[in-house]
């Protein structure tokens, strides 16, 4: 098994994980696009979703694929509650962009430490028996079946979101808000409802993404959320900020680049990923595929 087969393996796993990364980052991008706030607690919601799947499996032997569906209404409801607590007041504040960033950071700290109190600090992982067992051989290396199920679930979710954005009234309203809020309001878009739905949807997607998190990253612990947020942000910005479907490209690029980095220079994979994020933000703040977002 030379470097070449290893490269095939890295590419294949990179694509599978990339699809998952796209799904994991999707909620962050939708919330940013519609509400113009960076949900810094996004990764913490993913972490919570992973723990819900873990607890339901350990305590009640619930297959995590059922949990995956169940998480949608639960986190959607949570999103509605958080929306009413935070968003209207922050929108009226003196500097919504930075104040919301700080407030969501507070939410992130809160979720993280509440999870620490509830679950402890040590990492846990979801056994393969919680979803699907087995592995398939690829270029001489084993790829767990669950990774493929995760990628398939991600594709289904991405397709549904495409449907929502293109063919439903609420989705079209969301897209109108992403492009130009004033114009959308002038054309009679129900801003409150469209924003609320998109915000809650962002939460629901984050929670659902949590089910596959332990399989892709190997483990989960309460303070992992902050890292997941920055990773999701990297994926979003490799695509375009405020354009949810560009996250697919962002996810695939990040997945493949990250896999190749971790195969050839594992000790610097994280550091290089964040340096990459830094460079992209400076050079193209709106995302690699996005328009100009710069100010003086």
């Amino acid at each position: 098994m030379g470097y070449a087969t290893l490269l095939y393996y890295a590419l294949a796993v990179g694509v599978l994980e990339g699809l998952y990364f796209a799904f994991m980052a999707l909620g962050l991008n939708i919330v940013f696009g519609v509400v113009r706030m960076i949900n810094v607690a996004h990764g913490d919601l993913v972490m919570l979703g992973a723990y819900v799947a873990f607890m339901l499996f350990v305590d009640f032997r619930v297959n995590a694929l059922y949990t995956f569906v169940l998480l949608f209404p639960v986190f959607f409801g949570l999103g509605i509650a958080i929306y009413y607590i935070l968003v209207p007041r922050l929108e009226k504040s003196s500097d919504p962009e930075i104040n919301s960033f700080i407030a969501f950071f507070g939410l992130s700290l809160f979720i993280e430490s509440a999870a620490t109190i509830a679950f402890g600090v040590s990492p846990t992982s979801l056994p393969a028996s919680a979803t699907v067992r087995g592995a398939r051989s690829l270029a001489g290396y084993g790829v767990p079946n669950v990774l493929m199920v995760g990628a398939a679930a991600s594709v289904v979710i991405l397709a549904l979101i495409f449907y929502y954005l293109e063919f439903t009234g609420l989705g079209r309203a969301a897209r109108a808000l992403m492009q130009n809020k004033e114009q959308a309001m002038a054309l009679g878009v129900n801003v409150r409802l469209a924003t609320l739905f998109a915000f809650a949807l962002g939460f629901a997607l984050a929670g659902m993404a949590g089910v596959f998190e332990p399989y892709v990253f190997g483990y989960i612990y309460p303070s992992y959320g902050g890292f997941l947020t920055v990773l999701a942000f990297t994926v979003v910005i490799i695509g375009a900020l405020g354009n949810p479907l560009s996250s697919i490209i962002g996810g695939l690029v990040f997945g493949v680049v990250y896999q190749i980095l971790s195969v050839y220079i594992p000790s610097l994979a994280y550091a290089i990923s964040f340096l990459l994020l830094l460079v992209i933000i400076v050079v193209k703040p709106g995302g690699v595929l996005g328009g100009a977002q710069r100010e003086v």
């Binding site: 104040n99 507070g106 979720i111 430490s113 000790s267 400076v282």
Partner: protein
């Protein structure tokens, strides 16, 4: 304005002078603050013999004052601010590994930390939350670089950096040097707040565009505030490293940044009294919780941050302002 000028053309137009320079009132205030700080940190450890408590308080006071230059006065919030603090501490170890001795290692630490700030200068082209997240990415990049086994020769990776036996351990001396740095930071805060430079910074905070129209050199003014802010953080970091002698890459944890930001906003960003009061109250609370209810520290700070942003984004000084109906110091 134009109308009143026409009505009495003969009267000389009033000479508009920017409110700059330290007047008698400001000098008196500065004297009071310096005396209070001296009294607190000289008498404190005698009354309550826990030097680390007071050292930690001073170190974070310096950090909050440092952040005040760039967030309070200039309006940019670097969410990864403590990267300079962490590098100030780690830089000593890296300097020692490179073969530098004693004071040279300290100078090296402060130099690389401030140099990092210079490298990050292009971030100022970004809008507010992009700037926030970009500095956060910088913090995480440095964290993973320091923690990485690839650079273990210089950083000792995730096994932590120990200065024991390589530089003299002298908590008393460190304590007094830190006190001196705190007093200097305070004087600088007063100086900047009431100088032309500070006025220019506040103009930038108000609007970059109109500040530029007023003939302010944005790049230089803002850059100087940033470098000053980073320099202060790296001094605090170097002192922290020297005082504790042993630390992990965890020093680059984003929570330290969040604490400093919370202290500053809780007190009132852009004021002199705000960062001091904010840090004294919340850093004491932090240390108390950290000892007795460790797992509730971040829970408490999370709630404080959310409540601040929802109901008190101008901090205690904002409340004081509403109550007194005049600008707080």
């Amino acid at each position: 304005m134009a109308h009143s000028a026409r009505s009495d053309e003969k009267a000389a137009p009033p000479r508009l002078r920017p409110p700059v320079g330290l007047g008698r009132a400001q000098l008196r205030n500065m004297g009071i603050y310096l005396a209070l700080m001296l009294a607190l940190f000289l008498a404190g450890p005698v009354a309550y013999p826990n030097q680390f408590f007071f050292f930690y308080l001073m170190d974070f006071l310096i950090l909050t004052l440092g952040l005040n230059f760039i967030y309070g006065f200039t309006g940019y919030l670097p969410f990864g601010y403590t990267v300079f603090w962490g590098l100030g501490a780690y830089g000593i170890y890296i300097g020692l590994q490179l073969g530098l001795h004693g004071a040279l290692a300290f100078i090296f630490a402060i130099a690389i930390s401030t140099a990092l700030a210079a490298v990050l200068l292009p971030l100022f082209r970004l809008r507010s939350h992009y700037f926030a997240i970009a500095t956060l990415a910088a913090l995480m990049a440095v964290y993973y670089l320091v923690e990485s086994s690839a650079l273990e020769r210089w950083t000792n990776g995730d096994k932590g950096a120990s200065l024991a036996g390589r530089i003299p351990y002298d908590p008393m001396l460190t304590y007094y040097i830190t006190l001196a740095i705190l007093l200097i930071s305070l004087v600088l805060t007063f100086y900047v707040k009431y100088s032309r430079f500070g006025l220019a910074l506040r103009a930038i905070r108000g609007s970059v565009l109109s500040a530029e129209m007023d003939g302010i050199n944005i790049t230089i003014t803002r850059g100087l505030a940033w470098l000053l802010s980073a320099l202060i953080a790296s001094l605090a970091g170097a002192m922290y490293g020297w005082y504790v002698m042993f630390y992990y890459p965890d020093i680059f944890n984003v929570t330290y940044s969040v604490y400093v930001i919370t202290y500053l906003i809780f007190g009132g960003a852009g004021t002199v009294l705000g960062p001091i009061v904010g840090t004294l109250i919340l850093s004491s609370l932090y240390q108390f919780l950290d000892v007795y209810y460790t797992s509730y520290v971040n829970l408490t700070f999370g709630v404080i941050l959310i409540l601040l942003m929802l109901f008190m984004s101008k901090g205690l000084m904002g409340v004081l302002y509403r109550y007194l109906r005049r600008l707080p110091p």
